[in-house]
């Protein structure tokens, strides 16, 4: 099983490394939880979870849609499809103050441009702030999601440019400088509990809070994970292997993507 062009062979036929990442992330979401969903990869994984093992989870988007049930994946965080069958639609200050800050969110589900060994996130700049090499979009809702959700799931593709030893800018706090530094900052939520990538699964060490590789997706290797990480990656003594996607997961995910693509083309122009 080699991974050429992101394809992985498995008992259930072939699937891409992005698909196994999305499937693995979706499995982290338990049924019934209230989940604050970031756009892009997290939104896909959260909707896959809701359509498979977690029909009772409540998806909250920062545009103010609570209990969103999109039939296709939204391209933006405020697509009409999010409001259409939502349990409620509230103004933006309410979703941040009454829901997130008030502790009503069980799981925050975030993407990231860059992450460091303690799962702090940068989405602001690469290079110096005043003369950035790359100006990224900025904070959005992430700092408060990272602060106030009871726990945080992060997903992003693993590569040296994204997994960096030191961030140019800390936009959202994960485990700060490690140890109990997050607690000392006074944050209510537990912070990132898992990072899902296209290669495997990382969890913070219970003591040091440094991200540790605990599982690999089928076909991925420790060597590949190390090469894709910009610091000396900690690896657990025993590495698990992610269960390959079951047929239902792949079918639902592909169907969701196909319907999304069809809808996008349908409204184009």
């Amino acid at each position: 099983m080699t991974s050429t062009e992101g394809k992985v062979g498995g008992a259930n036929g072939s699937y891409t490394t992005d698909e196994i990442m999305t499937v693995a992330a979706s499995r982290e979401l338990e049924d019934g939880v209230v989940c604050f969903v970031g756009i892009g990869l997290p939104s896909e994984a959260a909707n896959l979870a809701k359509a498979t093992h977690a029909p009772g989870c409540v998806l909250v988007y920062e545009s103010g849609t609570i209990g969103a049930k999109p039939d296709v994946l939204p391209l933006s965080i405020g697509d009409g499809v999010l409001a259409k069958r939502a349990d409620s639609v509230v103004p933006v200050p309410e979703v941040f103050n009454y829901w997130l800050q008030a502790g009503r969110i069980d799981v925050g589900f975030l993407g990231a441009a860059q992450i460091d060994p303690f799962a702090n996130i940068n989405t602001t700049v690469v290079g110096p702030y005043d003369s950035p090499k790359v100006r990224l979009p900025g904070a959005g809702g992430a700092p408060e999601i990272a602060a106030s959700a009871k726990e945080v799931i992060i997903m992003l593709r693993q590569k040296p440019r994204a997994f960096v030893e030191e961030l140019s800018f800390v936009t959202s706090v994960g485990h700060g400088k490690g140890g109990n530094s997050r607690e000392e900052l006074g944050y209510a939520g537990a912070g990132p509990t898992v990072v899902i990538t296209d290669l495997g699964v990382l969890r913070p060490d219970p003591e040091t809070k440094e991200l540790t590789l605990v599982a690999l997706h089928p076909g991925a290797t420790v060597e590949a994970a190390r090469e894709a990480t910009g610091w000396e990656l900690k690896v657990a003594d025993e590495i698990a292997t992610t269960d390959p996607p079951i047929d239902e997961e792949l079918e639902v995910l592909r169907d969701l993507r196909a319907r999304t693509e069809a809808r996008r083309k349908g409204t184009a122009g």
């Binding site: 756009i39 892009g40 920062e62 545009s63 103010g64 849609t65 939204p74 391209l75 933006s76 965080i77 405020g78 697509d79 009409g80 999010l82 409001a83 409620s88 639609v89 509230v90 103004p91 933006v92 200050p93 941040f96 103050n97 997130l100 800050q101 602001t124 702030y129 003369s131 950035p132 090499k133 790359v134 100006r135 990224l136 979009p137 900025g138 904070a139 959005g140 809702g141 992430a142 700092p143 408060e144 602060a147 106030s148 800018f169 800390v170 936009t171 959202s172 706090v173 700060g176 997050r182 900052l185 006074g186 944050y187 209510a188 996008r264 409204t267 184009a268 122009g269």
Partner: protein, 284 residues
């Protein structure tokens, strides 16, 4: 009391060079027509305020309308970068752009303080982030009752707020439904306001989650059908995702951007003319 006027007149009457201007609409109901009219009228030195700058501020920044941007997320949603915004920050083109950035929660709370006539808002968050280092408008505050350390952000009082809504009624009340975003707070925090609407109706129908802004809180109303394009208006038209994708290529290149703006915005009389102009290009 709201007054119905042509958009050209509303912008000319309410927006001056150097003003702080908030054009709000969270992905939904983005006031694109009003942004174009400010570009056509050559407004400059504006402080542009908006949670998600989106294509409208990319265009205004690229056309040299802005001296400062106050924002919380500056990307092309679902597509990638806002290239004119990036060019201004990274290379000072067409002019240096001062930036003041917050999180969404920070911006939302600033508008709430503005609408409530308070000097600042209190919130949790920002602790341990580098935003605290680069943004002067975030500062710690201690609760006088419990001693708890919290964060304060100053009020937001734009000179002018502009929003797009689905409908106004004959008396000048304004109705928005679907994702209602930050529009109510942005409107109530402003000194002056302009609302563009899809249409004027005799009376509103009841709709789930509808927000009605009473006429007394609204300045000028201008009727601009499709005035949010390429954003959408729930109940009227869908988001033009293809346009957002196409903008990535248009906005990427300075020359192509200028040519596009000259042809499709400066070269058109109004927003209806603009829509006609881009439709013709698609057909060709």
């Amino acid at each position: 009391m709201a007054e119905v006027v042509e958009l050209r007149e509303a912008i000319a009457g309410s927006v001056k060079d150097g003003d702080s201007v908030a054009l709000e609409g969270f992905t939904h109901l983005i006031p694109s027509a009003a942004a174009h009219e400010m570009i056509r009228q050559g407004r400059k030195d504006l402080t542009l305020i908006r949670m998600t700058p989106d294509l409208i501020y990319d265009q205004m920044i690229g056309m040299g309308c802005a001296k400062k941007l106050v924002f919380s997320w500056g990307g092309n949603p679902g597509v990638g970068s806002l290239h004119r915004f990036r060019d201004a920050v990274e290379h000072s083109w067409p002019a240096p752009l001062e930036i003041e950035e917050h999180s969404h929660a920070g911006m939302a709370n600033r508008y709430v303080a503005g609408a409530s006539n308070l000097p600042f808002a209190v919130m949790r968050g920002y602790v341990g982030t580098d935003l605290l280092k680069v943004t002067k408008t975030i500062a710690p505050v201690t609760c006088p009752f419990t001693g708890e350390k919290l964060m304060a952000v100053p009020t937001m009082r734009p000179d002018v707020t502009v929003i797009h809504a689905q409908q106004a009624d004959r008396r000048g009340n304004v109705a928005i439904w679907g994702i209602v975003g930050i529009q109510k707070e942005a409107l109530l925090s402003a000194r002056r306001s302009i609302v563009t609407v899809e249409e004027v109706v005799e009376e509103f129908e009841p709709r789930p989650f509808q927000v009605v802004l009473p006429s007394v809180a609204v300045g000028a109303i201008s009727v601009v059908p499709h005035g949010a394009h390429p954003s959408y208006a729930d109940g009227y038209y869908d988001r033009d995702n293809a346009f957002y994708e196409a903008w990535d290529l248009i906005g990427r290149d300075r020359g192509r951007f200028q040519e596009w703006m000259e042809h499709h915005v400066l070269g058109t009389e109004d927003f209806a003319g603009h829509l006609q102009s881009i439709r013709e290009e698609v057909i060709r």
